[in-house]
């Protein structure tokens, strides 16, 4: 965990790695991430020309050298800017983070990858870190700074935090995030908005989408997704808050899919940057929350009422 002096001493400039699902399916997540980080005084620089991380489900399952080469190119772009790279997706964090660690510690793979990169005039050095917006906010910004910036405390919003898998596991690749079985760092950030993260059964379960399972076996993966959705609906949670656009896609589009089969799910799905955006006073519209496939007017009204109340106070 960073100390207070480290937090103050570090220039907070990072390259922003967008990945695929956020910019190309949930642009509201990209926008919200840009807005809240700016408000928190973190400079995000465009990682121009970045590609897919690449998607670990397919690339790590197909060919290790290709996976490492594609991932290393993205890291090299950030190295050239002299900055650490910030992801807003667990999949990207897992893929880029693991590739980066592999290349830092395995000279054989590093040599192999640099041979490929050399063909397009690039070289991997290993001097940029791969970060994730949640662990960055917790370690380098801190919940207290977030609390200071909250203009609309989200009182009375009952949040189901979904950590997702690759934010916390494999834990030997993640620094200082505490227990992988019962982590708290994300819950603390949710509570900093005034909303309340409430524990629930199966909280640490996978969304079902990863590893290429969603693309090949959608119906089976939705059985996993529905386990969580059923618990959350029964326990009357106001929303799911995730840290990964791919989990987001699974929960959001999954409800529509399940409803086609006669179910009735209508749980709002928010990326943490969107929840934070609401607490910073942006309307749901300004954060692209209404662009989700699953919409819920009761949730929107509840948020707008809190924003109205804050304005009057």
């Amino acid at each position: 965990m960073s100390t207070e002096t480290e937090k103050q001493g570090k220039p907070q400039s990072l390259s922003l790695f967008l990945g695929c699902v956020a910019p190309n399916r949930y642009p509201g997540i990209e926008l919200a991430s840009r807005k809240v980080m700016k408000d928190l005084g973190v400079d995000l620089h465009e990682l121009e020309g970045a590609s897919c991380c690449p998607a670990p489900g397919v690339f790590k399952s197909f060919d290790k050298t290709t996976w490492l080469t594609m991932a290393s190119r993205n890291v090299v772009l950030s190295e050239q800017m002299g900055m650490d790279l910030l992801t807003i997706c667990n999949g990207c964090y897992g893929s880029l983070g693991e590739a980066n660690l592999t290349l830092m510690h395995d000279p054989d793979y590093k040599a192999k990858v640099n041979e490929k990169l050399g063909e397009v005039g690039l070289e991997y050095k290993g001097n940029a870190k791969v970060r994730h917006i949640i662990e960055f906010l917790e370690k380098d910004v801190g919940p207290d700074t977030i609390k200071e910036k909250v203009t609309v405390p989200l009182d009375g919003i009952k949040v189901a935090v979904h950590y997702g898998c690759h934010l916390i596991r494999p834990s030997k690749e993640k620094e200082g995030l505490g227990s992988a079985e019962n982590p708290r760092f994300f819950d603390v950030l949710v509570d900093a908005t005034g909303a309340k993260s409430v524990d629930y059964e199966e909280k640490m379960m996978c969304c079902g989408a990863g590893g290429g399972a969603r693309s090949a076996f959608l119906e089976t993966t939705l059985k996993m997704t529905e386990k969580k959705l059923a618990i959350l609906q029964k326990d009357e949670f106001d929303c799911i808050v995730d840290a990964c656009p791919f989990c987001h896609l699974q929960f959001d589009s999954g409800q529509v899919q399940l409803n086609k089969e006669g179910k009735d799910y209508h749980i709002p799905v928010l990326h943490y940057s969107q929840l934070l955006g609401l607490a910073f006073g942006y309307t749901p519209q300004e954060l692209g929350i209404q662009m989700n496939m699953t919409t819920n007017s009761a949730f929107e009204e509840k948020v707008l009422a809190l924003q109205q109340k804050a304005k009057e106070a």
Partner: protein, 174 residues
Amino acid sequence: MTDPVSSSEIDKSFFNELTREKGMDKILLCFNCNGCSTGCPMKDIESKFDIKKYIRMAGLGMKDRILNDEYLWYCTTCYKCQERCPEGVLNVDTLLRMRTMAVHEGIMLEPHREVAHFVIDTGHAVPINDSNRKKRLELGLTEVPPTVHMYPEAYEQVRKLLKACEFDTLTQKE
């Protein structure tokens, strides 16, 4: 239940090839405690996917049965089993390596081949589409993100790298 193993199914060269990758030989430390499968969210909904079974079969070198098994592709890579294994077996990493061995023998699922082709053709596994171009503009973002989508020379670099890795040949459609 798993069928009994016949000695003709055992291929030690498969085991040797698998364990050329660092850490994979830990599969031999498995003492059948079943902790991996007990915590597996996929096993819970699809009992035919059993991570312990693959680790045990890998230790024996049961190449054909592993590589041709569609359920090898059901793991969501949640890493719970790997996190919890008391012997430090790299369950998920080993399973992923076995998938790469299947792919290099030409065994892959069509939806995954398609995802690979999205990346070869656009640089993104999930490329932009018309409705999301519109959403981006409505939000005040650029019509396409500042990724390979905006910079053709960057996409060209990605294409060249995939070719250098022979990924295009690997995922070639028949």
